[in-house]
Structure formats: C-alpha cells, structure tokens
C-alpha cells in the first residue's frame, strides 16, 4: 500500500474518524484552552515527585501511562517486558497509536497528561520552550542514565538550551539506494554512482529517466525534496540554522544553490507535479516496491526502507551507497523518535525508569536478539536494528547480525553503519515547527515553479527568524 495512503489511514484511525467532527474539534480545542488557564507551573523530573500534583498511584500500586507508542513487534514487547521486570510495582497502561499533537497538547493543558510520550525528536524544541515537556537532567543524574552511549547527533537533537528534554530511541540514517538495472541501462556501474559530482549526477538522472507520453515510467534520481533540504544544504557546505537554534541561515547563498540544483534535477526529469503524483503510487514497504518495479533509478531514503526491502524483497537488485557532499565525504541527516516526560506527568519517577529501560544498551540487545531469532525461524535475514544507542549497536552488529548471503543487503548494512558517524541534525529551536514549515514551504514553492530558490528562501528566512524571535522573546 502506498506510504501516503497508509499514513492517511493512520491519520483516520488516530483522529478518531467521524467521531470528532469539525465543530467537535473546535469545541474540544477551545475547552482545552480554557481549562489550561487554570494550570500551575511545574519543575523537572527527578527533583522530587510529580509535577502534576498526583503521585500516579492507584491504591498501593503506582501506574504509568504512555502515549504515542505501540506494541507492533518484538522490538517493542521485549523492552516493555524488561520494564515490567524492573518495576513490577507499576501498573502499565500503553495507549497504542501514533503520537497525536492535538491529543497530547489537550491532555497536557487539561491536566491529564500521560506520564511518558514517544514522539519525533524534531518536535522537542517547540515543546521544551513552551514548558509542555520537562527537563530530564534530574532523571538522567538520579538514574545514572549513560548518556554517552547515545550517538552524538542523537544527543544533540534531544537537548534544548543545554538541558536534556528527551532520550533518543532509533537512529535513522539517509543513504542512496540505486536500482542496478536502471544504472546499467544508463551504462553506469551502480557502485560508481557518485553524488559529489553534481554535473555527473544530473546527466545520470536524465539517462535513467524513462517516460511514455505524458507518463513517467521510471524516475531517474529522486532527491527527496523538500524534506531533505537540510541534507542538500549540508552537502553544499551550509547549515540552515545556527548551532544555538536562534539564527536562521536559510538566506545563505549555498542553501539556495543546493535547492536550485536539486529542484532543477527534478525539473529535468519531468517536473515536480508528475514526480509527486508518481511517487504517491509507490509501495515502499511491500513486495511491489519501486525498485522491484523499476520505477526509480536511484533515490535518497532513510535506512528503514532498505531493511524493509530485505524482508519483503530479499532478491531486489539494488546497491546502497553513502550520500556524499561535494568534497566526497559522507553526509547524513539523522532522525528518530525520543521519549519525553510531559508537564503534569503524575508518575515522573516511573517514567524515568521506563525511559532508562527502553533505551538501555542491554535492553536493546535483548530486543534485537529476539528479532534475530524470529527472522532465523522465518528463514529470513536479520539486517540489524539501528538504535540511538551506539553501545547497543556495537553489540548488535558485531554479534547478532550475520551475513545473509544476499550481498546487496549485507553490503547495505556496512554502508549504513559507515555513515552513522557522519550524522548531523538541525539544531533544536524554540520555533522548531514554524522553522521547519518555513523551509518546507520554500522548497515546495521552488519545486512548483512559483518562486526561484533565492527568493523563496529569503521569504522563508524572514518568516522563520520572526517565529524564532517571537518564541524566544
């Protein structure tokens, strides 16, 4: 099933379908807003009890409520079991489902916050700046969470204003996946595809593209704009935000140059509107993925697309390569989820234990071992679990991941591991959501042809800086 449609279905599920109509949503929002006015301020986790005033106990047993997390597989269940073993005194309630911003904020505002929340790391800055989530420095020190185990980029992404606001879970890297057939059709060795040579890449993209009348049959090179704009900017030697998250750098000419190049790549292969419609039909995670169906020549993607292909289409003829900057060095914009504790959590101490347990190296290794065993029983290769914990990954990839006999995927694992060191993140900002929206819209305007890169990014820079200034004032 195409990814967007899967997402849309998830949206339907999470949003509760017809149960919440337009007026219902508006009423809920405003009611939540009105209730929020009565809430008191709170402190951090680990500094002596729950900020919400309650102790999270029901009778003699304390409770822990999660949000944004589910139990779809052994990677989740094994770690949850580890927590249950560590804290048998805690009654665990897992509210399964994806993180829903509206539900989360309404819960916090109305004083019914869950104890621990699983969300995308790039949201942390906005919530931290507004006090919707608590600093975890006390939790880290009291429970001796070995923060040095986490990848540096992941550490950076869960910190705001020098404080820990989250603990990272997975560590998603971006790699280049080449469809060997498309490369060979273009007369190129797939392993020799070099993204540091922008002129060469543009020519290769056109060669790999195949159209029939007005329809695209194979898109040569999918640069994944606008979502990968920070990656393209980095490849051109630019950051889009200052390290302290207070100064937009979207007006850097190198960012404009990168956006201009990547958008011209799209244009030369048929244009954005056709590409977007074409990619909406893709089933990235199924047996009919775009590489097997020869719909893509090469694309930038998160590594989980590759690991999914290892399970669904182990004979896919692909080559996975690092994405390189213009100097030829690997560059990798990493991301993933994190655990945070919201304002008003009734049992922050148990939440802290949960976070520590879920992200600890030994818990990850146990979960990965369960996954490897399951794969072995199914007769499938285990290509690893890419956690935010570097210590765990070291064990997983040295002891549990074995050569599968499928060279493409065995090589892919090595490549993904090799680019992890090159991981970078866009720094957290008090206006993280507005900042992201500004550069995404800028990229979309350029792709749609309504503005050139410099003009569009100049507008985005103004919007973003204004939002940052307002959020930090």
């Amino acid at each position: 099933m195409p990814r967007r449609l899967v997402d849309a279905r998830r949206t339907a599920k999470v949003r509760g379908g017809a149960a919440r109509g337009r007026s219902g949503r508006a009423a809920t929002a405003v009611l939540a807003a009105a209730l929020a006015a009565t809430l008191a301020a709170c402190g951090g986790v680990g500094s002596g009890g729950g900020a919400g005033g309650g102790d999270g106990t029901t009778g003699s047993q304390s409770s822990l409520t999660t949000m944004g997390f589910g139990l779809p597989d052994e990677i989740a269940t094994v770690r949850v079991d580890a927590f249950k073993k560590a804290r048998p005194d805690v009654a665990l309630r897992i509210n399964e489902g994806q993180f829903d911003e509206q539900a989360f904020l309404s819960a916090v505002a109305s004083g019914n916050a869950p104890d621990v929340v699983y969300l995308s790391r790039d949201r942390i800055g906005s919530y931290a700046a507004r006090g919707a989530i608590q600093p975890l420095d006390g939790c880290v020190s009291e429970q001796n969470i070995p923060t040095g185990d986490f990848y540096p980029a992941a550490q950076q992404q869960v910190k705001y204003d020098g404080k820990w606001y989250g603990i990272p879970e997975f560590y998603n890297s971006i790699v280049l996946v080449v469809n060997n057939k498309a490369a060979k059709d273009a007369g190129v060795d797939p392993a020799a595809v070099d993204t540091s040579d922008w002129d060469g890449l543009a020519k290769l993209a056109e060669k790999m593209t195949r159209t029939d009348g007005g329809k695209i049959e194979r898109f040569g090179f999918y640069p994944k704009l606008p979502e990968f704009l920070p990656l393209w900017a980095k490849a051109n030697g630019a950051d889009i935000l200052s390290a302290d998250g207070r100064v937009s750098k979207l007006n850097d000419p190198k960012v404009a140059e990168a956006l201009d190049y990547a958008s011209r790549l799209v244009e030369s292969q048929g244009g954005w509107t056709k590409l977007k419609a074409f990619t909406e039909t893709f089933d990235y995670f199924g047996e009919g993925n775009p590489f097997v169906k020869d719909q893509i020549g090469a694309m930038l993607t998160e590594q989980f697309v590759v690991t999914a292909m290892a399970g669904t289409t182990p004979d896919a003829d692909i080559t996975v390569l690092p994405f390189k900057d213009r100097q030829g060095n690997p560059v990798n914009n990493v991301g993933g989820n994190a655990w945070v504790i919201p304002k008003g959590a009734k049992n922050p101490d148990a939440a802290c234990t949960w976070i520590k347990t879920m992200t600890a190296a030994d818990t990850w290794v146990a979960a990965a071992r369960a996954r490897a065993d399951k794969r072995a029983k199914e007769g499938k290769a285990y290509t690893g679990t890419y956690t935010g914990n570097a210590e765990a990954d070291e064990v997983i990839f040295s002891e549990l991941v074995k050569p599968s006999g499928k060279k493409a995927f065995d090589d892919a694992v090595k490549v993904i591991r090799s680019v992890q060191e090159a991981g970078f993140v866009v720094p957290q900002s008090a206006a993280a959501a507005e900042f992201k929206k500004a550069w995404e819209d800028a990229g979309t305007r350029v792709l749609q042809g309504s503005q050139n890169a410099a003009e569009s990014l100049a507008r985005a820079h103004t919007e973003a800086q204004k939002a940052i200034d307002e959020a930090t004032s």
Partner: protein, 347 residues
C-alpha cells in the same frame, strides 16, 4: 388531490413540512425557521400550536448541547483572541494584536482566497447537480424508488477521511481513474493532486461526492410540489422547461434557499477531506505548500502545530463573523426571491 391541496393551504402544515425536511438533513436552520414561523403564527392566533411545542421539545437536546459544549467554549475563545496564549502557559493580554496580525499575514490572504474560490465553485455546482439528481429521483416510481434513494444517499455515509483517501487514488495524475477516463477521449488529464493550479479543482470535484443530503432535501421539496399546478400549466400549453422554471422552481425555492445557506457555511468551514488529503501526515505537509490551504486548516495549524491559540481564536472569530454576515445577506436577498407558500396563504 383536493385534500392534499387543502392541507397545503395550512401555514402551520407548511412550516412543519419544512421542519421535517430539515430534520432529515440534520439542518437546524430550517427547523428553527419552521419553529419561528410556527411561533409567529401561533402568536397571531393567541396560542401555541402543538407542533410548535413539539418542535421545541425535539430541539431541546441540541439546545442543551449548544449551551454546554459550544456557547461556553466560544465565549472563552473570544476572550483568548485578545491574548497571547500557547496552551501551556497562562494567557497574556495582547489587545487587538492578533486581529492586526491577520491583516499582515500573507497566508491568511491565501487561505481566504482558496476558501472563497472553492465556495464559489462548489455551492452552485453542488446544488445544480443535486437538483438534477433529485429530479431524476422524483421521476422514479414503484418498488425501485426506495432502492435508488438509498443508493443516491450512500456516498454521504462515507466518512470524510475515507473520502479524502479515496480521492487521492482517483485523482492521481499518473495512475488515477479520473485521468484514465479522460484518456479514453484523448485528453491528457492534469495533475489534480500535485499541480497547484489544479489542486483546488480536484477538491471541488471531490466535494461533489457528498451530495446525498442536499439531494434528499431537494427531493423532499419536489415531492411537495402540487401536481395540479404542473397539470394546469401543461393545459395552458407550458413546456417542460417552462413548467420547471415557472412552477417547480418557485415552489422549491425555500428548500433551495436552505441548501444554499447550508452549503455555503460548510464550504467556508471546509476541513476534513482536505486535511486528510494534503495535511494529514508529515510527508503530505511537506509537499503541497499553500495550494490547498483552506481557512480552517490554517486556523488548525496555528492552534495545534504552532501553539498560537490566541491567534487561532481570532481567526475563528473572524470566520464566525464573516459567516454570520454572509448568511444575513443571503437571508435578506432570499426573502425577496424565495416563495413561501405558507406565508402567501396566511397573508
């Protein structure tokens, strides 16, 4: 036939019929109007008619809900619209800054533009199409009639979110059925879901899926048109079009007026389907820019994505006032154009 005609000369009966029609459609406005008309006439007669009393009884649950769950939060949001409020901290008084900000925000202008264009396209198209369907339904008699009415109404049972997902498939420019159909005639269809020049048109197309309620209201009105009037016109030599224009249209004008108002309001509040299609997940949010940015979607983004609750409340109140003004104008204009059979007889 004579008996039926006599019944329709009763003003209260006419009002009750209008109320019943609105009840089938879930529209409170006509019910309210019916109740108001009934009340006015009852006042003239010096007593409250049983129908009026029952109308209030049936309206009571909704009125209680209105006061408890809508009026209170609405007043709270009015107060919040004069504050800087992020949902987490305490609101800070900001005067009229949120309203002033709207005049400088280019996205507000874009959202208003998209919403207005959509409304101007959707409302007439939806009503013309629904009227055509209602006319077809009105001609179907016998056992098949019930089945056809059900079939025509079924699309309205589809949840909005499902409709959004469905039309992502149908309107896809590369593999969708709409363009596949156009290709049969040698027409290369546009990129409905990705080309900013066509996204709004695609949304209008999608909106025509949910015509069931409008169709049923107009169908009910058509059923109430006295057959003897058409027959008299026919005897006088009027053709089909003349009968439709001079007899049917005036007789259903009150129902038409109602569906114009309801469709206008719902168009200005468009949210669910468009949000599902173009804003429902992170990838979608990244990819479409402002081409599908409707006013309520922008309001929602400001509230829950950027936590600007004060600004979002101001946006909501401006929309409320605009809808109220538009509805008032429609009522004033409608009073000149709409033929109320009941008032005619009462006068």
């Amino acid at each position: 036939m004579k008996k039926g005609a006599e019944e329709r000369t009763s003003g209260e009966k006419g009002a009750a019929e209008k109320g019943a029609a609105s009840g089938a459609a879930g529209g409170e406005a006509v019910a309210g109007k019916a109740a108001a008309e009934g009340g006015r006439r009852a006042g003239r007669a010096g007593r409250v008619r049983p129908e009026t009393r029952w109308a209030y009884v049936f309206l009571l649950p909704w009125l209680i809900g209105l006061v408890l769950f809508q009026a209170g939060p609405m007043l709270a949001s009015l107060a919040l619209s004069f504050t800087d409020y992020d949902l987490i901290g305490a609101p800070e008084f900001a005067g009229t800054a949120n309203y002033a900000r709207m005049t400088e925000d280019p996205k507000v202008a874009r959202a208003i533009g998209n919403t207005v264009v959509y409304t101007l396209l959707h409302v007439p198209l939806a009503i013309i199409l629904a009227l055509a369907l209602a006319l077809v339904l009105n001609r179907i008699t016998g056992r098949a009639a019930g089945a056809f009415r059900t079939i025509f109404y079924l699309p309205s049972m589809t949840p909005y979110v499902a409709v959004g997902v469905l039309f992502l498939f149908l309107l896809n420019g590369q593999a969708g059925m709409v363009n596949a159909f156009l290709a049969l005639f040698g027409v290369e269809g546009p990129q409905w879901t990705t080309d900013p020049d066509w996204i709004l048109m695609g949304i209008v197309l999608m909106s025509l899926w949910n015509l069931g309620s409008t169709t049923i209201i107009l169908f009910a009105a058509l059923r109430n048109v006295p057959r003897e009037l058409s027959e008299a016109a026919m005897i006088d030599g009027a053709g089909a079009w003349q009968r439709f224009r001079a007899v049917t249209l005036p007789m259903i004008s009150s129902a038409l007026f109602f569906v114009v108002i309801i469709n206008t309001i719902s168009s200005l509040q468009m949210f669910d389907q468009v949000y599902t299609m173009f804003f429902g997940n992170q990838i979608a949010q990244q990819s479409y820019g402002d081409a599908a940015l409707f006013y309520v979607i922008y309001l929602f983004q400001q509230a829950f994505q950027f936590l600007h609750m004060g600004y979002a409340s101001a946006l909501a109140w401006v929309l409320f006032v605009v809808i109220a003004i538009i509805t008032l104008i429609q009522v004033k204009v409608g009073n000149r154009l709409v033929y109320y059979e009941a008032e005619e007889h009462a006068g």
